[in-house]
């Protein structure tokens, strides 16, 4: 039985869409205020905490949650697990939207955004800067994601007989894409590996300002592995959500086997953290049972819980448990990033930070925009798969979603 991606169709202006639109609209005046009067009046950022949730959440956590495309691509293309194909397009869509919004968040967070075009200029590069690498990687990766997603658009535009120019251009681009597909897909795995680990490396230089429970030379490893986890978790979560919203059968088997991989990565993450702390004599900090050790223990609990839940085959096959584990993993990864960038960051006495309400409105508004875009694209373009899930291995080799 062949499986094909199909536009979901249906009305755009549903209640969820309108609600998301309203939430998004709330953040527009805040953005205007920010651009007219600066970051100070709109956000809670200050000289002690120059990075707030627009960096810690929108960029760092947002891109990790948008690592679904990356995580599934590793399985599908690097480890040759073709059965994960049905998950690729929705994952890439979420990734593309997530990374684009992370990019938008960077623009509104930058104080001198008009100079941003100077970043890609080779002769300006300070090759010592981790942030440069993150910026260039993410800029490139956003392109790659939309290119990877473009077949879904081309498939629709190629059929638009009413607009022959559009047709021709779409066909030509599609052909072009197919020629370089392998290179692009490989890039789509290489780039996130580089920048998700580098997002962790950003904090390496703060040897005195980052709490010792979070500062370690292994930050890149920890950030990369938790990004992979969050990517998988996001895929599971969105897949469940989409299947429910659009009333489709669950991809239980695929997701179950993915959960198995997550357990290994979860224990890897926990193991690296604990052994690293132990070898550098920092477990005493955990034993202190102060606020920081509390946050650390909460993180570890949130990583451990899904690991234990998914340990048994029964757990992995239970969609409910799978979903709870996915949510726990996303929360765990989010908390880990918040702790590394905000909670564990201690510039010195007298400084404190908490996002202001307008600041939070922008973050929430951007997420709402992502929902809007997702709903629109999924309804208009062939992203989600139809048909019953395959039985057994032989049905696990569909055509690539292209």
């Amino acid at each position: 039985m062949s499986r094909k991606a199909q536009a979901v169709g249906g009305s755009i202006l549903t209640w969820p869409f309108i609600a998301a639109l309203a939430v998004f609209a709330l953040c527009l005046p805040v953005l205007a205020w920010r651009f007219l009067y600066g970051l100070g009046p709109t956000t809670g950022m200050n000289d002690g905490f120059p990075w707030g949730i627009w960096i810690a959440f929108d960029v760092v956590t947002g891109t990790a949650l948008a690592c679904g495309g990356f995580s599934v691509a590793i399985l599908c293309y690097a480890f040759n697990k073709g059965k994960y194909h049905p998950l690729i397009r929705p994952a890439i869509l979420t990734s593309a939207l997530g990374y684009s919004l992370a990019g938008a968040s960077v623009i509104i967070d930058l104080g001198r955004y008009w100079n941003v075009w100077k970043i890609p200029l080779l002769w300006n590069w300070n090759r010592n800067s981790v942030l440069l690498e993150v910026a260039l990687c993410i800029m490139t990766y956003v392109f790659v994601l939309w290119i990877e997603l473009s077949p879904a658009f081309f498939e629709v535009w190629e059929e638009q007989e009413k607009y022959p120019l559009l047709c021709r251009v779409a066909r030509w681009l599609h052909g072009l894409l197919n020629r370089y597909l392998i290179g692009i897909l490989a890039l789509g795995i290489l780039l996130p590996t580089m920048h998700q680990s580098s997002l962790g490396s950003l904090m390496l230089i703060m040897t005195t300002k980052l709490h010792k429970l979070w500062h370690t030379p292994l930050l890149p490893v920890l950030f990369l592995s938790s990004a992979i986890l969050m990517g998988y978790a996001a895929v599971i979560f969105e897949s469940a959500l989409a299947d429910e919203v659009f009333d489709r059968p669950r991809e239980t088997k695929i997701l179950a086997s993915m959960s198995g991989i997550m357990v290994v990565v979860l224990f890897f993450f926990l193991g690296v953290r604990l052994v690293d702390l132990a070898l550098r004599d920092r477990l005493g900090l955990v034993a202190r049972l102060d606020f920081y050790s509390g946050m650390f223990l909460l993180e570890m609990a949130l990583f451990l819980a899904p690991a234990l839940l998914l340990l048994s085959r029964k757990g992995r096959n239970n969609p409910g448990i799978e979903l709870i584990s996915a949510i726990l993993m996303m929360v765990a990864g989010t908390l880990y990033r918040f702790d590394t960038f905000l909670v564990g960051f201690r510039p010195g006495p007298g400084w404190s930070y908490f996002p202001t309400i307008p600041e939070m409105a922008v973050t929430i508004g951007f997420v709402a925009f992502e929902v809007l875009a997702y709903l629109f694209i999924v309804k208009k373009f062939p992203i989600l798969h139809t048909g019953a899930p395959p039985h057994g291995l032989d049905a696990a080799t569909p055509k690539p979603s292209g």
Binding site: L36, F79, L110, G111, T207, L279
Partner: protein, 299 residues
């Protein structure tokens, strides 16, 4: 794939091995320690000589054309900032100990020999300029504020309340120094509590003071090796360690050392990424071949 207890243990074991082997540290490419340039200039601040008159604060504002700071959190006090900020590049702070001892402390950019801010700035808007002064070029700055998070002294300040913000910090009055002058704070000081000169001369002077009057000073020159060395050196009164004056304990390793050695190890000559790309390309190619018997992509 069903992870049995075995593969879980495999996961943990590999994690432990990775952490224990110190691979990251071994990975780190060896990095030559930076030294100050031959014509490096600096400041030497002797807290035992400072009387807290704040003449340097006033003159710094004048020399740098900074506006008065009227927005203190303690109410509408005129131009009495309580810390460095976007309108204050230099400030004198007061330390009051529980034993009643007091000391003043001059706070401004430390002009580190191997600055964290210059290391992290994406396009070198902050860089180590002539004579080792850490210079800011707003023409390149994108306002990402990585320099603010990276600086262990929290020196770069930001203009939060404007649509066209800049980073603000002491630049050792380079507009005066370049013409053969001295920084305004040094010119203003009535007690020569802060002096300006060649870095090595100041270093020798500071050590000389410690040797001549050991009972007067805390036995250390801050900035000699701290954080890889700074071009602003500090002397404190006996019994008042530098931590009490707000100067962090940085050890001798420059801050960029860890992050740069790891980055360079991985990205040196771009070998690793290109190699990984090649491997991935091959893997993707193979999976395509197996998943669709026809060569390459579709259509």
């Amino acid at each position: 794939m069903s992870p049995t207890r075995r593969s879980v243990l495999k996961g943990i074991a590999s994690a432990a091995t990775l952490a224990a082997s110190g691979v990251p540290k071994a990975f780190a490419a060896p990095r030559r320690r930076k030294t100050p340039p031959a014509d490096a200039v600096g400041l030497l601040y002797d807290a035992t000589r400072c009387i807290g008159c704040q003449a340097c604060v006033v003159k710094c504002k004048e020399a740098n054309g900074m506006p008065p700071d009227t927005g203190t959190p303690r109410g509408p006090m005129y131009d009495a900032p309580d810390d460095l900020n976007a309108k204050t590049k230099n400030i004198i702070k007061l330390y009051k100990g529980e034993d009643g001892r007091t000391s003043f402390m001059k706070a401004q950019c430390m002009h580190c020999v191997d600055p964290a801010c210059a290391s992290v700035c994406m396009i070198s808007a902050l860089y180590k300029g002539p004579r080792g002064i850490v210079v800011y070029d707003p023409g390149k700055c994108v306002g990402c504020r990585y320099c603010q998070t990276a600086c262990p002294f929290n020196m770069p300040k930001y203009e939060w309340r404007t649509a066209f913000p800049k980073i603000v910090k002491c630049e050792m009055c380079r507009h005066l120094v370049e013409k053969g002058g001295i920084p305004a704070c040094v010119a203003a000081c009535p007690r020569e509590a802060v002096i300006f000169g060649g870095l090595e001369t100041l270093r020798a002077d500071a050590k000389g003071r410690l040797a001549r009057e050991p009972k007067r000073y805390f036995p250390k020159v801050y900035g000699d090796t701290d954080g890889g060395g700074t071009q602003v050196l500090y002397l404190s009164a006996a019994g008042i360690p530098f931590g009490k004056l707000g100067l962090p304990d940085l050890g001798d390793e420059p801050l960029p050392e860890l992050t740069e050695s790891l980055q360079h190890a991985v990205y040196q000559g771009f070998i690793a990424p290109v190699a990984l790309y090649a491997i991935l390309g091959f893997a993707v190619y193979r999976s395509f071949r197996s998943q669709h018997p026809r060569k390459g992509g579709e259509k």
